[in-house]
């Protein structure tokens, strides 16, 4: 009995010591995390104030170099505040509003520096500067409590979850939303882009659930005897579509098909894949066959990638007038390495179809455009996004630089203005 008591006492003491140790470790960890959060919060708040000052300073000058310096600061500071804010737990909605507002401000500064349209900047920014000042003040007031956490994480989490109206914190959110919409309304190109991804251009007749299912069975005969489950997209979805899940033997997958016109958005099958039996040529030929069956005859091959179960093959629509590839209207196919069976189709971008404005291609003298040790291996005309939601006619150049380690680059150059839109390092 006495021995048992001793063992029990020792056990309790041991457990107690272990518990204290764990508690101490947790506290240390929580303090370390809180210190990081507090640091990021302080950093964001201070830089927010610097950002407002930079916007104000940019309105001081007519001298281009001086304006450029301030625009550069606005772009850099907005990016830094974004980074700090995205590292503190402030709730998704608040975080999104902040990141959006700051990102747009930074982009505006970058684009102004590039375009040299300082007049538009001068007209817009006095209001933005005022708004930033009041946002900065509100933010400081709202986050005071965050410094009084006394080492307790709950304060942060309560703030992040607090959806009650009229707290200083939720007020910042409302103000941000208002300023965001007023200060940086969507541009025409952005609005067109939004309409495109929401498939607003589709004017085809609505098809029924039964018709959608029949279309799927016709396009993908391999699953015609499958067990299907059809669901309609939610009422709040930007475009209505049928979500068809299927199961047939070893095959399990889904098809999304639009309600307007029954266009295939995507198809994906999961099934075990045996050892590769087909050559690359055979796979590519089969990919072309699959495209014909899907009635996508206006596309051309772009690239293919083999991995251990499947090939991913990319095609893009050809412009009817100049045959340049429209990369934004791409179709991706996934083919099984064992039989070449179509395991997937992604035609979302193909269905969205770009509206291309007429553009001219002015020739470029490559030896003067590139450095002397660069060799131009291939040039083709393509249409691609210029980063401002506009499709531009471009030269896509495969450039090669010889040396100890030869390097290959894909360079995309606006065919009319000759500015470089993209440089990719290829391995």
């Amino acid at each position: 009995m006495r021995t048992l008591l001793v063992i029990l006492t020792l056990g309790v003491i041991g457990l107690g010591a272990y518990g204290i140790n764990v508690h101490k470790d947790n506290q240390n960890l929580q303090r370390a995390v809180l210190a990081q959060y507090t640091d990021k919060l302080t950093d964001a708040s201070e830089k927010l104030s610097h950002l407002q000052q930079s916007v104000s300073k940019s309105l001081l000058f007519r001298d281009e170099q001086a304006i450029h310096n301030e625009l550069d600061s606005v772009w850099r500071l907005s990016s830094e505040v974004r980074s700090s804010l995205s590292n503190i737990p402030i709730g998704q909605e608040m975080s999104s509003e902040w990141l959006n507002y700051l990102g747009r401000l930074g982009d505006e500064a970058k684009n102004t520096a590039k375009s040299g349209d300082y007049q538009a900047w001068r007209e817009k920014m006095p209001q933005v500067s005022n708004n930033l000042q009041s946002l900065s003040d509100e933010w400081t007031a709202a986050t005071v409590d965050f410094y009084k956490h006394n080492g307790n994480m709950d304060v942060w989490l309560q703030q992040a979850d607090d959806t009650k109206s009229n707290t200083t914190f939720t007020n910042v959110q409302k103000t941000l939303k208002g300023y965001g919409e007023k200060d940086f309304p969507l541009t025409l190109s952005e609005s067109d882009w939004q309409k495109k991804i929401e498939l607003k251009a589709l004017q085809d007749a609505v098809i029924t659930e039964k018709e959608a299912l029949e279309r799927v069975k016709t396009l993908f005969p391999v699953i015609q005897d499958a067990t299907f489950t059809v669901a309609k997209s939610s009422d709040t979805a930007p475009y209505p579509f049928y979500h068809i899940q299927f199961h047939q033997g070893i095959r399990l997958g889904y098809v999304d098909i639009t309600e307007k016109g029954g266009h295939i958005l995507s198809y994906l099958v999961e099934r075990p894949v045996d050892e590769a039996k087909l050559s690359q040529d055979e796979i590519l030929a089969m990919a072309q066959e699959h495209l014909k069956k899907l009635d996508m005859k206006d596309v051309a091959f772009v690239e293919s990638r083999e991995n251990h179960q499947a090939w991913h093959v990319t095609f893009a629509r050809k412009h009817p007038k100049d045959n340049a590839l429209i990369y934004a209207d791409g179709v991706q196919l996934k083919l099984a390495k064992d039989t070449g069976e179509l395991l997937g189709v992604n035609a979302m971008e193909y269905v969205q179809e770009e509206t291309i404005k007429p553009q001219v291609a002015k020739p470029i003298d490559w030896p003067t455009f590139f450095d002397q040790d660069v060799r131009v291996e291939e040039v083709k005309e393509i249409y691609t996004d210029n980063g401002q939601f506009e499709q531009r006619l471009c030269y896509e150049v495969i450039a090669f630089r010889d040396g100890d380690r030869p390097e290959t680059f894909r360079v995309v150059i606006d065919a009319e203005h000759h500015n470089v839109l993209k440089v990719e390092y290829l391995t």
Binding site: S86, I88, G91, T236, A237, H308, N346
Partner: protein, 274 residues
Amino acid sequence: MRLFSKNLVLLMALTLCILPQNDVAAFSEQQITRGAYGDDVIELQARLQYLGFYKSKIDGQFGYNTYWAVRNFQEKYGLPIDGVAGAKTKKALAGYSDYDEAWVKAQLKAGHQFTYFGGVPLEQQVKKNTASNNKQAKKDSGSSNQNGTKTQLPPKYSERDLQLIANAVYGESRGEPYEGQVAVAAVILNRLESPDFPNTISGIIFQPLAFTAVADGQIWLEPNQRAKEAVIDAMNGWDPSENALYYFNPKTATSKWIWSRPQIKQIGEHIFCS
């Protein structure tokens, strides 16, 4: 001089004709070019490196570095220059080079840094991982398959991106259908394009309060091949979420705000919204 060049080309062509047939069998019979991947490419790169044409890492991916090496080899040995490793090129290559398959594959599997230049003892061409960095090497090669070949991804994504997103997909949705896993990966990639989110993959995944798997530590579980396949499909463009930026499990969601988002569709246990 011109006569000499002609004779040289003729001599090389003649040599190609009399190369032993069994050397060709080393390769598979497949014609391979840019985009190919796997054992055949490993052998191709090793043989090209043996002859000094290929200076990059032997990784089993037929990219541009391999393409230029094949072209240079074809040019030097009087073959049609097309950058395609067809029967003639493979035959010539197999005739002029040596390939120690077991050694090369062992280095790839172990994650060692190595080269395979001819005329240099193999033991001098390998930098073995020490015990301390072995774990890291294994982790870094997490997206490799069993023979150490890396995954081929669209150029804008890296192996690190694949690993990070696969961790998130596995931690968040390993019990979900494949479609649901691709959708979770697609949401992460959609966030990358959206101005409302950080502009790096790690920034998006580790944004505080963004993913449950980060909060409860499940993100550190080793993802399986299925999760990786799902990420590869999402990186190649598939988006079963139909442009969603958020998703939640209605049975476990605690945030009231998430219910206010416009819903798109449900896959398994997750509702996807914009």
